[in-house]
């Protein structure tokens, strides 16, 4: 066991190395690139066995990942933002092939306009694809989640996305405890063993046609629903996977992180690295007499519905903080949680806050204000309309930029 200062990107690369990933199809994109640069350096020097192939696009990269996974090697790949969107045809195609691999997504806002800063709109665009999704809140969790994701993916035979926030995790160093290679190998036996056979698919003399077209709706429905059932089954599998991990490494990763939830009445609900700051705010709210808590789904797919219902029964209000935006609807997490709680006895009031778009810093003071708004709403018995985190000062900044862009003059013509 070694404790090192690592960025989230380096932690992801270490996860792949400790998982003995054989094959890395790659394509650079900020802020993910450090992952493939790190792996390329290790493979070049011989520190890590395996092969990295630089592809000409993310679409090709993911296609190569699907093919190599089908041919029975352990595959790792990574992308961000526009890269994930460009690969989206294959993101939707991969799960139905029922071959596991791990894709790390370093979250970054999507165009238009282009940004390189973080938000979760990219990864949530892959929400309905069939990929499992693990969302991380620290660099330690990134390294661990890659190992966990392989074991989970190989158990239910679906590919998995491990998501980390751009910049706040990807470029931030913090202490990470790395398991030694032997321990990691004990947790994650070779792929062939996980499949219970040493015979590899796609060998001479063993005919296999994978990914066949299915034109009749009956069989189509069957195959599509099988992927869904496998994703749902991953919830149960996660229990075993995370229990084993906790026993072996002493770090426990429940499907939903619950912080100071025992008697909490006002609950922050969010994903990713923002959890750190929110925990600090929960502590300070508690010190000031407000019974606050925090729930953070680590698993976004499968969605840990039963656990969420259980945790939230009888609470007064939930402050859902979305770092994404579904145009014409609102925060994605808010909609997800509302659908899980509708009609449930003792369901809390849900408040929707949308912030963190394009890396917009969510200030601690804003989290405090959310709790204040939630208390007022609980007293009134009615949730206010969704709130965009955007201040008068920020609008003044935009107005200045619009003046420079001469947009106002143009409007007058």
């Amino acid at each position: 066991m070694t404790r090192l200062l690592l960025t989230g990107n380096a932690a992801a690369a270490w996860g792949a190395r400790l998982a003995h990933a054989d094959y890395v199809p790659a394509f650079p994109i900020t802020p993910q690139t450090e992952i493939i640069d790190t792996l390329a350096g290790w493979i070049e020097s011989g520190a890590m066995p395996g092969r990295l192939t630089m592809m000409e696009s993310e679409h090709s990269m993911l296609t190569a990942a699907c093919a190599a996974a089908a041919a029975g090697v352990r595959v790792f790949t990574a992308t961000s933002s526009q890269g994930l969107l460009y690969a989206m045809e294959m993101v939707y195609a991969a799960p139905g092939l029922r071959n596991p691999f791990v894709l790390v997504n370093v979250s970054r806002g999507v165009q238009t306009p282009v940004t390189i800063q973080s938000d979760h709109t990219d990864v949530l665009a892959a929400r309905d694809s069939g990929f499992l999704q693990l969302h991380c809140a620290s660099c330690q969790e990134v390294a661990d989640s890659v190992l966990l994701a392989y074991r989970l993916a190989e158990r239910v035979r679906l590919p998995a996305i491990v998501n980390l926030d751009g910049f706040t995790l990807s470029f931030t160093r913090e202490p990470v405890e790395l398991p030694d290679a032997q321990e990691a190998a004990r947790f994650l036996p070779p792929l062939a063993e996980a499949f219970g056979t040493t015979a590899r698919p796609f060998s001479a003399g063993r005919s296999l046609a994978a990914g066949a077209a299915v034109l009749d709706s009956t069989a189509y429905t069957y195959f599509r629903y099988q992927s869904h059932l496998a994703a749902v089954a991953a919830l149960q599998a996660w229990e075993e996977v995370s229990d084993t991990f906790a026993e072996q490494f002493g770090r426990r990763y429940d499907g939903v992180e619950a912080y100071r939830m025992d008697d909490a009445e006002y609950v922050f609900f969010l994903t990713g690295a923002l959890a750190g700051k929110a925990r600090g705010v929960v502590d300070r709210l508690r010190a000031a007499g407000c019974p606050a808590g925090l729930l953070r789904p680590r698993l976004l797919r499968p969605w840990p519905e039963a656990a969420l219902r259980q945790w939230l029964r009888g609470r007064r209000a939930v402050m859902v903080v979305d770092q994404s935006l579904s145009m014409g609807k609102g925060g994605v997490l808010h909609g997800e949680l509302a659908s899980s709680l509708y009609g449930q006895p003792g369901a809390p009031l849900l408040l929707s806050f949308i912030g963190g778009l394009g890396g917009r810093e969510i200030a601690a003071g804003e989290l405090h204000e959310m709790a204040t708004v939630a208390r007022r709403a609980a007293e009134a018995g009615e949730a206010p309309p969704p709130r965009l985190l955007f201040t008068a000062g920020e609008l003044r900044v935009v107005r200045k930029q619009q003046a420079l862009a001469q947009v106002a003059e143009e409007e007058k013509r």
């Binding site: 003071g365 709130r387 000062g393 003059e409």
Partner: protein
């Protein structure tokens, strides 16, 4: 918790500074977080890097809004872009400037509530500004007073190793020089407290209204607005035309300037637009009459 910001330009080693200080604090037994903050990664563009260190786990992330120590590796930045650098400085925060000017000048000019120290950078040659990071890290470590010199030097070895032995040797010298330069101020930076709930003013959130499509799209009308962007601030070397030797060929320096920052008048006399010249010195290298020389930027203005 200690919260530190290093401000400099891309290429001056501020990320390295944060990593050296982060590693040194980690070796000294602290929990640590360090991170660079930049938009596009361009040499010469202003950027900063942060370090947090505490005895327990660190929950905070992102921008350091209440720094205990701000190190400015390049005085020029302070003169031009002071606001961003001074953000969140209060009576307990220490500002360390690295350069030529005395602390009293900055204390007076910036009207800061907290202490200001200045560290002369005479030991760093014009051609080795990329080593500023090690120098700043050494200075910062001494100001915190909780890092032994051996930890600092070990951290330099760890963080600079990939740049080769010569870089490690020079970085060690400069880290130690920074460290020694602040001997009498050892330990003068203390840990800041966690921001209290009471100290948080409620945000002035507004309702954003739907606006006309042209206003609501990232479109720029009329063009040429980038003249507002002072890329001249990136410059560390200033090209100066010696008009006595300029042959008025008119085209060489102007044509090769990547930034269209050299204009010529009807006589073929070139003029450099210092607000936008990035100091690449392609003009100096190409001038057939050798009529352009380079002046270190700080000396150029005086």
């Amino acid at each position: 918790m200690y919260r530190i910001r290093f401000h400099g330009r891309g290429g001056q080693g501020m990320k390295t500074a944060s990593r050296i200080l982060g590693s040194a604090l980690f070796l000294a037994g602290y929990e640590v977080q360090d991170a660079p903050h930049y938009g596009a990664e361009r040499r010469g563009a202003p950027m900063h890097a942060v370090v947090r260190a505490a005895r327990g786990p660190i929950q905070e992330r992102g921008f350091v809004d209440r720094p205990d120590l701000v190190v400015v590796a390049d005085e020029g930045l302070l003169a031009e872009a002071g606001a961003a650098i001074l953000q969140g400085l209060d009576h307990h925060s220490l500002l360390l400037t690295v350069g030529r000017e005395p602390a009293a000048l900055w204390q007076d000019r910036l009207r800061l509530a907290g202490p200001v120290l200045a560290l002369a950078d005479a030991v760093i040659a014009a051609g080795e500004r990329h080593f500023l990071g090690a120098f700043c890290a050494g200075a910062a470590a001494r100001l915190l007073g909780v890092v032994a010199l051996a930890c600092l030097l070990q951290a330099v070895d760890d963080e600079v190793a990939s740049f080769g032995e010569a870089a490690v040797a020079r970085s060690r010298e400069l880290a130690e020089a920074g460290w020694r330069g602040l001997e009498e101020h050892a330990g003068s930076v203390g840990e800041g407290s966690a921001a209290g709930a009471s100290g948080q003013a409620p945000p002035d959130w507004i309702e954003l209204q739907a606006e006309a499509g042209d206003l609501a799209a990232p479109s720029i009308h009329g063009g040429l607005s980038s003249i507002e962007v002072r890329t001249g601030l990136w410059r560390t070397q200033r090209p100066v035309i010696d008009y006595a030797h300029c042959r008025r060929c008119w085209w060489v320096c102007s044509e090769f300037c990547p930034d269209s920052a050299i204009s010529v008048d009807a006589d073929g006399t070139p003029t450099i637009d210092y607000a936008h010249c990035k100091g690449c010195l392609v003009c100096l290298a190409q001038c057939p009459a050798h009529a352009i020389r380079a002046v270190p930027e700080r000396g150029a203005s005086s």
